[in-house]
C-alpha cells in the first residue's frame, strides 16, 4: 500500500536535509544553549549553597553578638558599681580628712586661747601685785608719818619675825 511503502525521494531528501541541519545545530546550536543554561544552573546552585552558608554564619554571628552584648552589659554594670564605690570612698575619705583638719585647727586654737588666757592672767596678776604694792606703800607712808606708829610697827615686825623664827 502507498502509505506504508517509504518513498525513495522523500527518504533521500530527509537524510540530506535532516543530516545537514543536524550537523549545523549540533555544532552551532544546541551545545551553546545547553552549556550556557548548565553554567547558569551551576551558578544558581552555588549561589543557593553560598546563601545557606551565609545564613548559617549570620546565625552564628547573631549568637556571638548577643553574647558580646551581654558581656558588655555586665562589664558596664561592674564599672558603674565600682565607680559608685570609689565615689563613696572618696567622699568618706574627704570627710574624714576634713574632720581631722578641723579637729587639729580647733585644738591649736584651744591651746593658743589657753596660752593667751594664761599670759593675760599673768599680766593682770603682775599689774594687781604692782598696784597692791603701790597701794601698800602709800598706806604705809601715811601710817608711818608719825613716830609712834613707826615704833609700834617696828615692834610688830620684830615680833612677827621673832615668832616666825621660833616657829622655824
Amino acid at each position: 500500500m502507498n502509505l506504508v511503502t517509504p518513498d525513495f525521494g522523500l527518504l533521500f531528501w530527509m537524510v540530506v536535509i535532516f543530516g545537514l541541519v543536524f550537523f549545523l545545530l549540533a555544532k552551532f546550536g544546541f551545545p551553546i544553549i545547553t552549556s550556557s543554561v548548565e553554567k547558569r544552573s551551576a551558578k544558581i546552585a552555588q549561589s543557593l549553597k553560598d546563601a545557606d552558608e551565609l545564613q548559617a554564619r549570620m546565625a552564628a554571628w547573631k549568637v556571638e553578638q548577643a553574647r558580646m552584648l551581654d558581656d558588655v552589659r555586665k562589664e558596664q554594670a561592674q564599672i558603674l558599681r565600682e565607680a559608685t564605690e570609689t565615689k563613696a570612698r572618696i567622699v568618706a575619705d574627704a570627710k574624714a580628712q576634713a574632720r581631722e583638719e578641723a579637729d587639729k585647727i580647733l585644738a591649736e586654737a584651744k591651746t593658743q586661747i589657753a596660752a593667751e588666757k594664761e599670759s593675760a592672767l599673768r599680766d593682770v596678776r603682775k599689774e594687781i601685785a604692782l598696784l597692791s604694792v603701790q597701794v601698800a606703800e602709800k598706806i604705809l607712808r601715811q601710817e608711818l608719818s608719825d613716830e609712834g606708829n613707826q615704833r609700834s610697827f617696828i615692834d610688830n615686825l620684830v615680833d612677827e619675825a621673832g615668832k616666825a623664827s621660833l616657829h622655824a
Binding site: 506504508v4 525513495f8 525521494g9 522523500l10 530527509m14 535532516f18 543536524f22 551553546i32 544553549i33 545547553t34
Partner: protein, 353 residues
Amino acid sequence: MILALLISLLLTADPSPSVQDDREVTVQENPVILSDSEESESINVAEIIFEHIGDEYGWHITQWKGKDVEIPLPVIVKSSTGWQVFSSARLHHGAHYRGLYIDPEKGKIIDEATGKRPLDLSITKNVLALMMSTLLLLAVILLTARWYRKHDALEEAPAGLAAAVEPLVMMVNDMARENIGERDYRKYAPYLCMAFLWILLNNFLGILPFFPGGANLTGNIAITLVLALCTFFTVNLSGTRHYYKEIFNPDVPVFLKPIMPVIEVFSALMKPVSLTIRLFANMLAGHIMILSMVCIIFIMAKYGPLMSGGMTVVSVLFGVFLDALECLVAFIQAYVFTMLSSIYIGLARVREE
C-alpha cells in the same frame, strides 16, 4: 495498541469508498434532486483523506471557482532518457511530458518507456514542507544560540525566543542526562534535542490546516523511518563491549547460548521498527480522524438541513476535541520518540559494574 488503532482506522477508511460509491449511484438515480454542479461536487472521502495525508508533486492548496489553486514544484527525475528537471504543472491532470506521467492510482511519476518508477528526487509537497520546517527549526535554534552568545546567561534571564526554546531544549537535555548518564550524555544530547524539536515542530505544522503546514510529514513512513534509523545507528555504533557481549554472549545457561543472540539481534532490529511505526501510525491516525470529522459535514449536506445541521454541530465539536487531542499527541509522540531513543542509547552505553 497503536497498531490496533491504525488497523481499525484503515479498516474504517477502507469501506468509505464503497459507501461513497453507493451514494454516487443514488446521485445518478435521483437526478431531479441533485443538479449537475452538485454532482461534480460530490465527495470522495477516501480521495480527500488520502490526498491530505499523502504526498503530491505540486502543493494543492484549494479549489477556487472549479480551478485548482496549486503551487507547482520542481520534478527531478532520472528516467530512461536521463535526468529531467521541470515544473510539476506540466504533469497536471495526467498530462504526459518528456515520456513521464503521473499514475492516477498511486499518484507517482511513471516512466512511459519502462512502465516503472524512475529514480525520483522531485521536490514534492512533503519535501518542500520538510525544507521549510527544517529551515525554520534551524533559524529558531541558531537565533536562540545567538542570544546566548550575545548575552551573559549568568546575569540575564532569557527573553523572547530564547525563553521559549530553552525549556524544551533543557527538558530533552535533562532527559538525556537521566537516561544516558552523566558521563557521556553530552555527546548524544544534540541528536535528541534535534529529534525532539524536529518531530514536535512537524507534528504541530501537520495539524495546521493551511499552507505552511498541512503536509503530513511525521505521518509519513519514509520520514519516521529515517528518524528511527538515526536512532538505530546512534545506538549500535556507540554500543560498548558490554552491550555487544550482552547480545552475542550473554551470561545464560549453555543450552540458551545459541538462542539468545537470535532473540537479542531481533530485539535490536525491532526497536527502530517500533519507533517508525509508533510515530507514523499515531500521526497518521490523528490526521485521518480529524479529516473524517470534517468530511462528515460535507457528506451530511446531502441529507437535508436538519440532519446536516445536527451532524455539523456534532462533527465540529468532535473536530475541536480531536484537534485538542492531536495537540496533546503531537507533544507526547515527540516526547516518547526522544525518550525511547535516549533509553536505547543509555542501554547501549552500559558498563560492567
